[in-house]
Amino acid sequence: MIVAERKKIPELVEMLKGHKKILVLGCGTCVTVCLAGGEREVSIISSALRIASRNSGYDFEIDEMTIERQCDNVFIEQAAEAIAKHDVVLSLGCGAGVQAIAERYSEKPVYAGLNTSFLGVLEERGVWTEKCSACGSCVLHKYGGICPITRCAKHMLNGPCGGSREDRCEVRPDRPCAWQLIYRRLKGIGELDRLKNIEAVKDWSTSLDGGVRMLIREDHRI
């Protein structure tokens, strides 16, 4: 799941000043689950913006709407009428959602109301952690299902680095050492031998280093 968090209200006000009719547009998928940009958060941020607008002397007129997915044309179309009626869209979708809206409404300013943070999971109520870097060439099978690229602060494919204290990461002592986790996990599933293999330098061309990525599924194209 994509995890995001809200931008602070003063930053949003600064972003929106100069505009009058504002549509706060939520997304009903990932950012709803991570409590950042769903219907509820649209309501909260809209109320906060109305109060901030009055306090700072701006004259915002704010309407609220939430669609099922901002990264999908079928759902974006449902917002077409509302978007047309407003001067600007404040999207509470992830970075992909904001851009999907912006690309489809070339004359309409579309601003991001969230900071898109990472691909992660809900660890416990109110706690999300990063699990995947979307590198485009998954190596999880070699590391017992624990990603050294994402969860090792040094992204080491041949770890550990030697800097960990007990089982804590040297860079972030509040986080476990990924390589400690990998060792324990491989031991648990009887695959410790995997650690004897030296992993070759990773080809990062499937990641951001290879330029903007695109996925085409000919079997699904019309």
Partner: protein, 121 residues
């Protein structure tokens, strides 16, 4: 006991403070409430186990958003009190009214007439 608390207070009953959502507080302030005092049961004595603890976290989060929006966070407070313990209620509600009076009216203005807003419980 014949205790009296300020008359410009509207009591809204909820099944539990855990029922209160951040949106409720925000809507109250957006609609012109000068202050909101959340009165929950004492910590550890929630009938629903942790309703008042949930409310505490939500109130704290809302106070942050209010500050960001330019409203003094002291306009929203939570207190914990026993249901059969009126004196702390009267003291804290009086203190809240005084605090809000010093802060002045909510710039969002009042949604209804003064008479409608100030209902004697």
């Amino acid at each position: 006991m014949r205790l009296q608390y300020p008359t410009n207070v509207r009591i809204i009953r909820t099944p539990c403070t855990g029922k209160l959502e951040v949106e409720y507080f925000m809507k109250a302030f957006e609609n012109g409430a000068d202050g909101v005092l959340v009165a929950g049961c004492e910590e550890g004595s929630c009938h629903f186990i942790e309703g008042n603890l949930v409310a505490k976290r939500r109130v704290n989060y809302t106070r942050e958003i209010l500050s960001e929006s330019g409203l003094d966070k002291e306009r929203l407070r939570m207190i914990n009190m026993g249901a059969a313990d009126p004196r702390p209620f009267v003291d804290k509600i009086t203190d809240m009214v005084e605090t809000v009076r010093k802060l002045g009216p909510n710039p969002m203005g009042r949604a209804g007439s003064k008479d409608k807003q100030e209902i004697r419980p």
